[in-house]
Assembly symmetry: C2
Homo-oligomer: 273 residues x 2
Amino acid sequence: MLKISEFSKLTQVPTKTLRYYDEIGLLKPARIDPWTGYRFYTVEQLPRLNRILALKALGLSLDQIKAMLDEHLTAEQIRGMLRLKRAETLQRLEEDQTRLSFVEAKLRQIEMEGTMSEYEVILKAVEPIEVAGVRDFAPDQAHISETFGRMYGMVMAEVTRQHAAFAGPSIALYHDEGFPETHIDIETTQPIRGTFHEANGVKGYTLPAANLACTIHRGSFQNLGSAYEAIMKWIESGGYHIVGPSREVYLQFDPNADPNTWVTEIQFPVEKG
Amino acid sequence: MLKISEFSKLTQVPTKTLRYYDEIGLLKPARIDPWTGYRFYTVEQLPRLNRILALKALGLSLDQIKAMLDEHLTAEQIRGMLRLKRAETLQRLEEDQTRLSFVEAKLRQIEMEGTMSEYEVILKAVEPIEVAGVRDFAPDQAHISETFGRMYGMVMAEVTRQHAAFAGPSIALYHDEGFPETHIDIETTQPIRGTFHEANGVKGYTLPAANLACTIHRGSFQNLGSAYEAIMKWIESGGYHIVGPSREVYLQFDPNADPNTWVTEIQFPVEKG
DNA sequence: GGTACACCTTCCTGTTACAGGAAAGTCAAG
DNA sequence: CTTGACTTTCCTGTAACAGGAAGGTGTACC
């Protein structure tokens, strides 16, 4: 018969933990003095405690351990729990690996620039988006904004004509990889709710679901470049690659207002590996 | 001005989380209607939220993020936090790797044997232990127990003669690697408290601190073999290796009692890699 | 026999980053 | 005016304990 502190010294398990295991019924003392309430353990309880510690080292929860020890599960059930745990561990492993490369990238960046970056890139999964839109070529970089305006006007006219309800800020897509000088393949869309019929060159369709690497840019479009750079760096340092056209979401855009009030989100569909 | 659910849809962050961030002062709404209490956000707050999410993705706590954003730390402090996080992540990564190999080993074992094993092996770190002991050779396997008895008698006699206080169950050490047939290098020790002077062939010294792979065996010493096997398998599957003599701790041993009551812990000092 | 000190008990709080849900007030559409 | 979608605050629960308070116990020592 060992007092709790003796058992604790023997097993390296703190008394707090032993009392907790008693409380949740995972490891009851061999005897409890009914008068003083003192807990007494025996060396015969060591194998059980060892089993508990071993299963805990595998990452199982105390609830699971209790089930494994007390409700003598079938081998199949135990296999199931272990397979699940294996999958979880594997996933956490991969997450931690990307986390590690991001931390290291951020460290390098701070070493270089001496400060936190202006743009923070995050990954988000978006659902498919129903839109009305047009896709066309801008003749060259100098006429992008003009072409855009024309395309956007077409979309707006048709959306209002069909009384379609807006379902969020408008989104532009850039289908080229890189930044070609001429024949720039761009697309202007407006998310809508409800049905939409193709008319006057404006089509109704759905932007696919995607995992997007995103960042937010504030101010005029002239300085979008560094936002794009930040995303590129992020994609590279996380081991991702681009799997579709980039998007620009015009969260706040009024051509008549001060460009400093404009807010744009830049998004690149990416995949791991 | 966006209501909380609109901001939530825009950012993919649940309203619960936004309210929580408000509560802890991490992201206050741009305006709170003083009459209704409704929270209102603006797109200008997106960059801050993005920064929060990006830092969270690096594994930083909300407290740390708050400090980074609000108490504009020096670049040096930020570097420190990131370096710490890098170290933590790296460690978790390694832990998860060994955890994964253990889970896989256990899975294989269950596939083979169809049940949980009798012996569970755990790793524990032990402090140095002051002992009185003798080391000698047993002529062959058949005379181990006899030699042991003689050595143990010597130790006990000298410990009681010097009035040294016992400090735990006695420990045997096996210095050979493998199991030689003759000239077996064994050591018998008794942990004690206080000073001890070498006399009659019994020395006082200290067993070194170590990381030990341990398991508990119940019953007579004849069946110790499978306990040793279990530890060996564990050591191999975890990528450890043996770095010193194995120990047997006689937690409960009375030669006159039923051997089924005996409890022995087997320990191998190990290191990673 | 008293006392100091180590040890034991129960009970309460705090940890992290929210999730679930109840009760009650608010807003816009039909 | 009603309905339904939203909003608020507040309470509880999560996992596995750690820290500490208040009060009872055991024993060694003077």
